[in-house]
């Protein structure tokens, strides 16, 4: 036992290593710990562990932490703490501690390493079960630790067994369905400074146990009497434990009890050298070994009385207690600087109630207990009502008090909630425990009612003449004790906060300093600025290069699904709105998918590689969703279709070379490939060696320009890209990003699912009736087209908009008003909104796509776009702005 130096409220103290901050402060004579949150009353340490609701601190040393119970903080050299008044503060600095998580499956989880928990561990370990034993104390033994008695050797021995994992300083925070528990382990706070930084400060355990044994023990309750909150008024079990461990600032004690625990603690105080003036017992008669022992020790026993009120010193410490009968009669004052309360035991039912178990009230024990023994969960020890025999508690929570006394009789210390508040709640009509809690805020503070819960229900019972269990059930919510946010974030911070997806060509994009766009989890190059260009300049340049020369884009993020089997065509005819079964081998076709509600859901190009082998592409964001969609229909509706789906998104890297000069570049990359229109037509696929790699080349265009998509195995993606850049140098090959891709497709009126659509557009709304098969008997979504609202005239339809001022780019999302003479000040009736809007190099003019009510019939009409700072005007046009005749795609 070495000494350590620590700081509390700016003053240095010395304590014994291994003891708690609370213990060390009592050892140093600190009884007045802080003042209360709202009423500013002096308060001292009252408890022993997490039930403490007065003595909270902010920890300023180490990583720092607000609002910690001083009873749970192990003192270490250099510890710096500040008392709080029930409100924490958050430092502005980052917490650079490491936090992590780990997962375990186990046969049996035992919660609590008291005698009951150790006994259960022994039992299951000897049956050959794997056991995880979790305890929130630094060493095993539970109450025995506090009593200073030795844990039997045969129980200690189980900790050494190979099939037992013992986790001390670990708190089971939550118990969930199917034996799932969450625990937090404090791994470094008890260690002296400079712990290796690779060790996590707190580890969150996720444990799935076939069976969970709850041996969580119990807390002692306080009693509700006038001025029961003065420093020096403590739970008897806590006071006796501190004092017998040498942390003893007290001289004279009065023990106020409802059970024999008070007598046991009186003896411990007596033995430790505190003069016990009296044991005041609300019971008329008491018996048992501990009672006899108190008599033998010559300690005065007062029967049938309890504490009514206390007196204090000028600084507010308790100096005397007035005892009386429960009705307040026969008062007598006794001097004492320690009032030790034993109000009965409250078994720790938290974990049980988390999974919906309702504790039962046992009057003989004056406690809510949980007796459970089923496949998933069992209880033992004090939680199960085994109080070890002779407690013989009275059901008593406090004496009758006058209104004035009730004003200072505290039920919840940290919330400063008094019996008076409580009585007002009853008077106001509150009957449910939940209502009383909300009316008074009892039980909502940092300790979450660990001490006040049962007391509150008991008092309501007393007030309206019902048993505590008729008031409602004692229910708690996870976590058992508070947990730092960062600990629950674990490693999911910074880079790891969400997975980043990259293509095989990503390293090239990075070295080109391209700003990235987050598309789902993918990082995609947004644009490729050269010599300090801004985005607008870069995109105009990239667009022009593609329309006039040749550009290159990394299209590898598109979702790709390999489809095999004789029924793929038939299947796709149901999935897509248009016909696929007629597609010829070697050809590609654009397709649109709808949900059963008839609304556009995804789109992409699908290729028939061979008779029974197809390759579908999806939107970048839609890949997983579409694969799930296909599997759902195949597995749950049409299991007889011979179709297998395989994701090949990463298998295939796709490099698109686009623009009038792409043919020249393609022929350089693949000398053996005939790239003429005659031999290699639009939507055709060819196989050739490209830069030495066998590739599938497709004549697919998302820009309207002549284009070739080079598809190779992912591991060759970077090689192909580099070859394209090399071979294209003299053609001024121009890499472009997602923004330019968006502008180019918009100029052609091609939609982007998720930009032109928001889940409420049919193909017809997108002016794509051409892609809805009239021949097919059925396809997914078809039936919904004929619903009243879906079939009605005047739905929002995709059109173009040209602003009168060609230099003004309408903000995307802006709403549109019919005519320019209409009122434009809000509230104003709108006819639609802008989905896409860009400046266009090709047009030398800005342009936009929009969804407008009855828009197709409105082409040529003037519109206004009202915004807070200005009103733009323009005209509704066709949604295709460039190359309406589709001549450019063939070069």
């Amino acid at each position: 036992m070495s000494n350590v130096t620590f700081t509390f409220d700016g003053q240095q103290y010395t304590g014994v290593s291994g003891e708690s901050l609370a213990s060390a402060l009592l050892r140093n004579g600190v009884i007045h710990f802080t003042n209360s949150s709202y009423k500013d009353r002096p308060r001292g340490i009252m408890g022993l562990w997490v039930e403490e609701s007065n003595a909270l601190v902010n920890v300023d040393s180490g990583p720092g932490e607000p609002m910690k119970a001083s009873t749970t903080i192990p003192i270490v050299e250099g510890l710096i703490t500040r008392s709080t008044q029930g409100v924490g503060d958050l430092p502005d600095t980052r917490d650079n501690s490491r936090y992590d998580k780990s997962n375990r499956h186990v046969d049996v989880l035992v919660v609590g390493a008291g005698i009951a928990g150790l006994t259960a561990t022994k039992k299951f370990a000897e049956l050959g079960k794997s056991v995880i034993l979790i305890d929130d104390q630094p060493t095993p033994g539970g109450h025995m630790r506090h009593l200073g008695t030795q844990v039997p050797a045969e129980l200690m021995a189980v900790l050494e067994l190979a099939n037992v994992t013992y986790l001390p300083r670990t708190t089971v925070q939550g118990l969930y369905d199917q034996g799932y528990s969450v625990a937090t382990q404090r791994r470094t706070d008890h260690l002296d400074a400079n712990v290796h930084t690779e060790v996590s400060r707190i580890r969150t355990w996720h444990i799935r146990a076939d069976h969970t044994v709850l041996a969580t023990g119990a807390f002692q309750r306080h009693l509700v009497f006038a001025n029961n909150d003065r420093p020096g008024i403590m739970l008897s079990h806590a006071a006796a434990t501190y004092v017998s461990q040498g942390a003893n600032p007290f001289k004279t004690a009065v023990v106020v009890t409802v059970d024999n625990q008070g007598y046991r603690d009186a003896l411990r105080l007596h033995t430790a050298g505190v003069a016990v003036s009296a044991v005041v017992d609300i019971r008329e008669t008491a018996g048992g070994a501990s009672v006899e022992a108190v008599k033998d020790a010559g300690i005065r026993i007062v029967s049938g009385k309890t504490a009514l009120d206390t007196a204090g010193t000028p600084t507010g410490l308790v100096s005397a207690v007035t005892i009386a009968k429960a009705d307040g009669s026969e008062p007598e004052s006794i001097d004492a600087d320690l009032i030790a309360m034993s109000g009965g035991w409250t078994p720790i039912v938290h974990l049980a109630t988390f999974i919906g178990i309702k504790p039962t009230w046992v009057p003989a024990l004056a406690a809510f207990v949980v007796e459970r023994n089923d496949v998933l969960t069992s209880t033992t020890g004090m939680l199960a009502g085994d109080f070890g025999g002779d407690d013989d508690a009275a059901v008593f929570f406090g004496p009758e008090l006058t209104t004035e006394q009730a004003l200072v009789a505290f039920v919840d210390f940290q919330r400063d909630a008094t019996l008076r508040d409580f009585n007002r709640a009853i008077g106001a009509g509150m009957r449910s425990i939940e209502h009383v809690k909300r009316y008074t805020s009892i039980g909502t503070s940092h300790d979450q009612g660990k001490t006040s819960g049962t007391t509150t229900m008991g008092l309501i019972g007393q007030a309206i003449g019902k048993a505590p269990d008729e008031i409602g059930s004692l229910t708690f919510r996870p976590p058992y004790i508070s947990i730092p946010f960062a600990a629950l974030a674990g490693r999911d911070r910074g880079l790891l906060s969400d997975p980043i997806r990259t293509t095989p060509i990503h390293s090239w994009h990075e070295s080109a300093k391209a700003p990235m766009e987050d598309v789902g989890q993918w990082k995609r190059p947004w644009f490729f600025p050269i010599n300090g260009e801004n985005m607008h300049a870069a995109v105009l340049r990239e667009c022009a290069a593609v329309r006039e020369g040749v550009g290159v884009m990394d299209a590898s993020t598109l979702g790709k699904i390999d489809l095999r089997g004789k029924d793929v065509g038939k299947f796709l005819d149901m999935i897509y709105t248009n016909m696929f079964s007629t597609l010829k081998v070697g050809m590609s076709r654009y397709g649109l998918m709808c949900g059963i509600d008839g609304m556009v859901f995804d789109d992409g190009v699908t290729t028939r590689i061979s008779e029974n082998h197809w390759l579908m592409t999806t939107t970048t964001g839609g890949a997983a969703k579409v694969l799930d969609w296909l599997e759902e229909w195949l597995q749950t509706e049409w299991p007889d279709l011979e179709v297998y789906c395989t994701s090949v998104t990463e298998q295939i890297a796709t490099v698109a070379i686009v623009g009038p000069k792409s043919r020249e570049l393609m022929s350089r990359l693949a000398p053996d490939l005939d790239v003429s229109n005659e031999m290699f037509a639009f939507m055709e696929n060819k196989y050739a060696d490209v830069a030495g790699i066998p590739a599938r080349v497709a004549r697919i265009s998302f820009s309207g320009e002549l284009a070739y998509e080079i598809n190779v195995p992912g591991s060759f993606g970077l090689h192909i890209w580099q070859a394209v850049m090399k071979q294209g140098t003299d053609l001024n090959i121009t890499p472009y990003g997602t923004e330019t891709m968006h502008v180019l497709r918009a100029e052609k009126g091609f939609v982007i699912v998720g930009q032109e659509t928001d889940g409420t557009q049919t193909p017809q709304d997108l002016d794509m009736d051409w892609i809805v098969s009239k021949k097919k008997e059925d396809f997914i979504g078809k039936r919904s087209f004929s619903r009243a609202d879906t079939a009605r005239e005047g739905r929002h339809q995709l059109v173009g908009i040209l602003t009168d001022d060609g230099s003004a780019v309408i903000p995307e999302g802006a709403y549109i008003v019919a005519g320019v003479d209409e009122k434009t000040a809000p509230p104003v009736k709108h006819i639609g909104y802008v989905t896409s809007s860009y400046d266009s190099a090709a047009l030398g003019h800005s342009f936009a796509l929009a969804l407008v009510a009855n828009g197709l019939a409105r082409k040529g009409e003037k519109v206004a776009i009202p915004m807070a700072d200005r009103v733009l005007t323009g005209v509704i046009t066709d949604s295709v702005f460039v190359d309406k005749e589709n001549t450019r795609r063939d070069g």
Partner: protein, 93 residues
């Protein structure tokens, strides 16, 4: 964190699955012959009882199979799980 009994892989954490709501709602034989009301019922109405529900899950991070399982929505207790197009076990209720 539910522990969901996949009939192919055994019990796995909820995070490996996607939910599919009420089981045994088949795509209509001939949608075009349904009234709008009947079609709306197929599209939008899924059973939502408090208690035992035969529901669909897909083990999409595992074997990728869809399956059905009885689950009590009031207690999160699982009953038997079973493959599509196999005999439905009777409700544990």
């Amino acid at each position: 964190m539910l522990n969901i009994p996949c009939p192919y892989c055994g019990p796995r954490d909820e995070t490996e699955f996607h939910y599919g709501a009420q089981a045994h709602v088949a795509y209509p034989e001939s949608p075009k012959d349904l009234t709008d009301e009947q079609w709306a019922k197929f599209v939008f109405i899924k059973s939502n009882p408090k208690g035992w529900l035969a529901e669909r899950w897909v083990h999409n991070s595992g074997c990728r199979r869809w399956f059905n399982v009885w689950r009590n929505t009031a207690t999160h207790e699982f009953g038997p799980s079973y493959k599509p197009f196999t005999q439905q076990p009777k409700s544990p209720a």
